[in-house]
């Protein structure tokens, strides 16, 4: 994997870090029920990573090709550095397709603007 501050690994492909990549841990709350007294109660079953939209303001043509290859299958692994500074490899599911806008040409290179994909993370973790 390339230096972590600049790349994220999706399905084995190193892709430049997306804008504002902030993996968020959210509690996995299931089985909500409104009680006779009007309170809402539920079961909490560990935590999971919240759905994330990964956006790239600009992406070189080669990186875009890598990204498209990475998301060719509907589920894959994503490796990134979490706030604890260590590598985390998690299972991810492609929820939204790449949104590829018009290319522009800059210094003889093809650059794609406003690329985005949405991922959801199916795994639930019991530890904190």
């Amino acid at each position: 994997m390339k230096p972590w501050l600049s790349y994220i690994n999706i399905n084995g492909y190193d892709i430049p870090y997306p804008n504002d990549f902030t993996p968020q841990k959210v509690p996995n709350i299931v089985n909500e029920m409104t009680t006779l007294t009007g309170k809402v109660v539920a079961d909490i079953n560990g935590w999971r990573y919240a759905d994330m939209e990964l956006t790239w303001g600009t992406l070189l043509n080669g990186d875009l090709q890598n990204l498209l290859a990475a998301i060719a299958s509907p589920s894959f692994q994503v490796t990134f550095k979490d706030i604890d500074g260590t590598d985390h490899t998690v299972n991810a599911v492609l929820k939204g397709r790449a949104n590829v806008k018009t290319p522009i040409f800059h210094r003889n290179m093809t650059v794609w603007k406003n690329v985005s994909i949405t991922l959801s993370f199916p795994d639930c973790y019991e530890d904190q």
Binding site: N28, V30, N31, L36, T37, V41, D43, I44, N45, G46
Partner: protein, 590 residues
């Protein structure tokens, strides 16, 4: 330690631990000899043994049979009561320096042996082995394990065994039913349906696992697990889209189509409630093994003739148990299905449920009009001795069927045999005490000529005596002066016709016939003087209706408490590890 009681009081409850299993049964004589194990290791108690109970670990291959028995491979005195632990920790490459494993001797060469293996840190693995059997024994060696850890064999099962837990369970749904508290009715079957994620293709195996194989279930928090609930496979396992579906029912499914023949008794002085009700329930359970706990009191003194019509076992269990109070009398437990239990003197556990734990709440009012009806007898007794003679050889056993094969009362034999037994109302078995001619006789019971004035009183011809009969409901025919009559009749009549059905956060400990103390919250509209506003009142914006400002509308929550007896419990462990439950209960202690 988390308990379900505490967790249910919280807004966010920790997900429960759920474990289920299925195993092929074997009652083969079996012995296990470990090798490479640490005989002095005393740290076993500190190991996280997960949710598997000691009972399950002790099963070790035999499983619980349909009578609920489990035959342990190891004896109680074995220092390794709950498993064998490797002498060495695994080396860096995962191998053991001392070979570790077990030698199994069995009467049959099982194609598969399943080992339930744990690490010191509680990780569990199920290992399927296809052993080579030589001379009735097979050696299974565990070569590798997690580096730096000991391996710990906690269960050995001959044949296949599956263990499922939160990690691979998709859903577990249970319907726990017992004798319902309705008048009449039939004993209902408790059931379980398990869906588990399984990527390995076992289709060549699951089709051959016969119905009747044991399934077990347990749920709760570590240290606060429910009772081990046992079921038996009721349909062939299916495997589709990596999902195993396993359906099971409790032991009462074995009572399907079982009918108890007509029976009669001399209901003599000193016989008691146990006799009247217990005997009939025992007869209904006779085709399956059941357990009986406790002794009933002597409640009845007097002398009556009792006649019981032929009836389906399920109906008998339901009707007769329904005559009894929960408190201090018989209690029949079927939901721990491995072995139905007749308990005397045990009250179902009491549970408190708060309004904060209840979702939808419905009140059902039953119309019981005409449900309590007298049942006309099918037979009456006529003192016509019908006699069969049998020439005997001393010491031999004879079966005598009185002709015609209708019910007889008071079957007698002369001279006195070594032993005798009434197989049913017309079939008699005895062991001759001498080589002579034995005479077996009885009084016919016929099915007409009922006294028109009192259908429950029939004059026995020739004797000039009056006999009373009971048909299905003892309460209607015993003399009013008998305490038994009052007791049973009162219990049925005073039973509430109000039932409750509600959704509940769930408690895997609760089972039918338990008593609940439930807090019910209802919102009522109130109109109160403005000067008396209570802070908890959630006001409607209704001031305009009373422009003088003297009164205001508000909604007030009213909390009441109800005692109820559980009829049935549905437990649903759904996706994401959540548990929800539905309970149907009858008002009062039934």
């Amino acid at each position: 330690m988390a308990t379900i009681i505490d967790e249910n009081r919280k807004h966010l409850r920790r997900a429960l631990r759920v474990e289920c299993g299925l195993q092929e049964t074997s009652d083969e004589p079996t012995s296990v000899t470990p090798f490479g194990n640490d005989s002095d290791y005393i740290g076993l108690a500190n190991l996280d043994r997960g949710m598997i109970t000691e009972t399950v670990m002790d099963l070790a291959g035999s499983g619980f049979l349909n009578n609920g028995d489990a035959v342990p491979m190891r004896t109680e005195s074995d220092s390794f009561r709950y498993g064998y632990i490797s002498e060495d920790v695994a080396r860096a490459d995962g191998t053991f320096s001392t070979p570790f494993g077990v030698t199994i001797a069995a009467g049959k060469a099982w194609e598969y042996v399943t080992l339930d293996v744990m690490g010191q840190h509680g990780d569990k693995r199920v290992v399927y082995v296809k052993p080579t059997w030589l001379g009735g024994s097979a050696t299974i060696e565990l070569d590798t394990w997690t580096p730096g850890e000991r391996a710990y064999i906690v269960g050995i099962y001959l044949g296949h065994a599956w263990l499922w837990s939160n990690e691979n369970l998709l859903s577990v749904n249970l319907d726990l039913r017992s004798v319902n508290t309705e008048i009449g009715g039939e004993l209902e079957v408790s059931s379980i349906e398990i869906q588990a994620y399984e990527t390995t293709d076992y289709t060549d195996i699951i089709g051959y696992i016969p119905t009747g194989e044991p399934i077990w279930y347990i749920a709760g928090y570590v240290g606060d697990m429910s009772q081990l609930r046992k079921f038996y496979l009721s349909e062939t396992i299916s495997w589709d889209d990596n999902i195993l579906t396993i359906k099971g029912q409790d032991a009462s499914m074995l009572l399907e189509n079982v009918e108890v023949p007509v029976d009669c008794d001399n209901y003599g002085a000193g016989w008691d409630l146990d006799y009247v009700v217990g005997k009939r329930i025992r007869a209904a359970l006779a085709s399956i093994t059941y357990e009986e706990v406790g002794a009933p009191p002597q409640l009845y003194a007097g002398s009556q003739e009792m006649l019981y019509d032929a009836k389906a076992a399920r109906s008998i269990i339901s009707e007769y148990t329904g005559l009894l109070r929960n408190e201090n009398y018989f209690r029949v437990t079927y939901v721990d299905a491995g072995r139905p239990t007749l308990t005397f003197g045990a009250v179902g556990r009491n549970w408190t449920i708060y309004a904060d734990e209840i979702g939808e709440f419905d009140v059902i009012v039953e119309n019981n009009k005409n449900k309590l009806q007298m049942v006309l007898p099918d037979y009456y007794m006529q003192y016509n001795d019908n006699v069969e003679e049998v020439k005997t050889t001393s010491g031999k056993t004879y079966f005598v069927e009185l002709d015609p094969p209708i019910p007889y009362n008071n079957i007698w034999i002369n001279p006195t045999p070594t032993s005798s037994e009434e197989i049913n109302c017309s079939l008699f078995k005895f062991k001759a005490a001498a080589s002579t001619t034995y005479t077996v006789g009885g009084y016919e019971m016929l099915s007409d000529l009922i006294d028109a004035n009192n259908p429950y009183t029939v004059n026995g011809s020739g004797q000039g005596e009056t006999y009373r009969f009971d048909y299905d409901f003892p309460l209607f025919v015993l003399d009013d002066s008998q305490s038994l009559t009052k007791l049973s009749l009162a219990e049925v009549i005073k039973r509430s016709n109000i039932c409750y059905e509600f959704t509940y956060r769930g408690n895997p400990h609760i089972q039918p016939r338990d008593v609940l103390n439930v807090e019910i919250a209802t919102w009522v509209d109130v109109m109160i003087p403005i000067s008396g506003l209570w802070p908890e009142i959630d006001l409607y914006p209704a001031e305009d209706l009373y422009p003088d400002g003297a009164y205001k509308y508000g909604r007030q929550m009213v909390k009441t408490w109800e005692t109820m007896t559980v009829d049935s419990v549905t437990l649903e462990h759904g996706e994401g590890g959540g548990l929800s439950s539905k309970i149907r209960a009858r008002k009062g202690t039934v």
